[in-house]
Amino acid sequence: MNHDTTLSRRRFLQLSAVGIGGAAIAACAAPAAPAAAPEEGEMAAEEVVTISWWHAWGGTTGMAAMEGVAAAFNEEDRNVKVERLHVTEMNDKLLAAIAGGTPPDVGVCCVQYAELYSRGAVMAIDDQIDNSDVIGRDDFVPGLLESMQWQGETYGVPGFEAGPRYGLMYNKAIIDEAGLDPMNLPRTWDEMFEWHVELTKFDDAGNVEIVGFDPRDATAGNGPATNIPQFWALTYGLDMWDDETNTFNYDDELFVSALKTIKRFTDHVGIQQMESFRSSFGGWTQSPSSSFPSGVQAMIVTGYYAPGELFHSAPDKEFGVGWAPVSGDRSDVTFQNVGGHPMYIPNGVTEIDAAFEFIEFCSEEKAQNVIFDNTGWLGGRKALYDPDLPKYQRYENLDWFLQSVNEADELWACPVIPIQGFVNQQRSRTYESVIFGDKDPEQAAADMQAACTEEMLKSFPELVG
């Protein structure tokens, strides 16, 4: 009988491998069954569904709004709870999550929605809307829900931030100092240019101190949303996108005229001075260090969110608002555009009802109040577009934006262009190639038309007609 108890290295390794393998298998095994069946009350508690919600908005006010909405939803007596996640670079991460089969149950802001709709990455929610007691198709400002539709199907619901986008806001002090009459705001781009010349100031060394109007700031210029590239076309009366044939209209005299106007405004300041000014201050109205809130830019084309943002970012300044300028032959036309961020459910989500319940909640007044109180944002519901509601008096000029939706001669919706990201890049490139003098406006417009058309043909050849 062999009583040798020594362990060879080989034997040790074999046993170790078996042990590690066994442990790994055990770790992968299903969890053990509970020792006893739960009581009825416990059963009900276990039926609570927790959904994940991704949002891209951050910052002090945005984060407070998101946290407030999640808290308000979770404190209600529902079988659905929400877990909130602030996601930066949302487009990249959502794309990876959808491709990997692990999308959030609900998403909002700030992705290229049209690309997701047109590629089947988010689900059509027409059935949910039609069966909803909370959301009706006529509940929203005209055009908003349409801006969330692709090929006749609805992919999102206006929830957090949606509304009119085009108002000409001005700094009262700068206008007064220049002796201009805010009761007679410029209606055409020629009049606007006269104001721009009056308001733009340089120091003795030629450094720009105040810019009258930057034709590439806020909704007139930069940003990913579809109503931004739309602005300059619409001021000249051009619909840049034909959603019947899915073709572009950039090779049009009206768009060429718009490019010439952009260049004219920039040339007066000087391209280098304008670039330095923009790079130094940043744009839009949310940050106190941006040019308009900090009082070094007299006028800006921006949206309904600006009054609330300026309330926080420039509390010591006064602003006014009026219709955005148009081309000379449209001087009697007022126009407005509505658009915003849809709440959507990615494809592959299993808790669809729970996800839609959260979307319904966000579109209702309770959540809307939380969002408005923190940020000044609207959600697009017609019933809440009453300028006389006391809460709207908090932000000066917000009433103008609310009324503009009903008073505008033309109310445009954001187009849904399935290659929006590409078009945005072409827009920036086109504007820059013109203002830097690389191309004349005619050539730039033709090149943009050609590039966008070619890209559309490559990506969606079956749709171009």
């Binding site: 390794l13 491998a17 487009n91 990249d92 794309l95 959808i98 491709a99 290229q112 690309e115 997701l116 590629r119 089947g120 990455a121 120091d203 003795d204 060394a205 030629g206 450094n207 280098q272 670039e275 330095s276 000014f277 923009r278 790079s279 130094s280 201050f281 290659i419 990201g421 590409f422 945005n424 890049q425 490139r429 820059e432 190639s433 830097f436 690389d438 890209e455 490559k458 990506s459």
Partner: protein, 300 residues
């Protein structure tokens, strides 16, 4: 007489493979497969959300023949490499030479010059954004107070790339450490011999110190070149490719195509072109190194 592959050797091989299998799985899943997949996707029209469609070499043809931005991007990136890598290398070598001298507070100075490496890129970008700011920046505030026109560091097409290169030169801490190690290996006997032969300080530096350090210079040049071709973070944070595409570099454009334009196939083709360019530059530098790199252990 040929050796037979014995069962024991097979078992030994299998056990060895079993033990490195975690690494093998990781390598296969996270390196080999993505490389193979990107090679395939580069031959397709693929937007991640819909099935890939095979189009042969169309992406490559479009990049070289039709895509104007790609030509701009190539030019910008080559500029960055050709100017930025030597600038960083020379600055790092000179600073390392200074820090190698006996002086007071030497550890403090070494720490100061290494600190930029430890600062996160986003923090660096914010600091430099304010340094370069035309209205509030450290430099331009002074210039404005003198009544002069400000310097548009990152808002001018001419100055944007050099301004980014200046930040690169500022953050040469890792190269400085490598050069310091190399400089400490320069034999004092050689320096003494050169001095006895009448070589002045500059001649000793050029004819003794630099040749001895050439292996380290080769290493820093190669890694710097590879890193510079992949330059992304500061360009993205500070200039976003502007003004007028003057800082649109290879990786920025690749990223835009992949994630903003949903053209993953096109971006994959770009990635392979970048790989081939880097490979070509690496081979070029390696080939040329036989002429200028001195390895002390070699017989000739």
């Amino acid at each position: 007489m040929s050796q037979q592959w014995t069962p024991a050797q097979t078992r030994s091989l299998l056990k060895g493979l079993a033990f490195i299998s975690p690494w093998l799985v990781g390598f296969a899943g996270f390196v080999l497969y993505p490389i193979a997949a990107s090679a395939y996707y580069s031959l397709t029209r693929y937007d991640v959300l819909r099935p890939a469609r095979f189009i042969g070499l169309e992406n490559y043809v479009e990049l070289f023949v039709k895509d104007e931005t790609f030509r701009t991007v190539l030019g910008n990136t080559v500029y960055l490499v050709v100017v930025g890598v030597p600038a960083g290398l020379v600055a790092a070598f000179l600073l390392a030479s200074l820090l190698n001298r006996k002086m007071k507070l030497r550890p403090l100075f070494r720490t100061i010059f290494f600190l930029p490496v430890l600062v996160p890129a986003v923090a660096s970008a914010e600091v430099w954004r304010w340094v370069y700011n035309t209205n509030y920046g450290v430099i331009n505030s002074v210039i404005k107070s003198w009544g002069w026109a400000v310097i548009p560091f990152i808002s001018s097409m001419e100055l944007a790339k050099p301004s980014l290169i200046l930040i690169h030169v500022w953050a040469q801490g890792t190269a400085i450490v490598i050069f310091l190690a190399a400089l400490q290996d320069v034999p004092s006997s050689l320096m003494d011999a050169a001095e006895v032969d009448g070589a002045n300080a500059l001649q000793r530096f050029w004819h003794v110190t630099v040749p001895i350090c050439t292996p380290a210079i080769l290493f820093v040049m190669l890694t710097g070149m590879i890193g510079m071709f992949q330059y992304f973070t500061l360009g993205w944070l500070l200039t976003q490719g502007g003004p007028n595409e003057s800082t649109e570099f290879f990786s920025l454009y690749l990223y835009r195509n992949a994630f903003q334009f949903f053209k993953m196939g096109y971006a994959s083709a770009q990635a392979w072109i970048l790989f081939i360019i880097i490979l070509a530059f690496t081979l070029l530098i390696f080939r040329s190194s036989a002429r200028w790199v001195y390895y002390a252990g070699e017989s000739d």
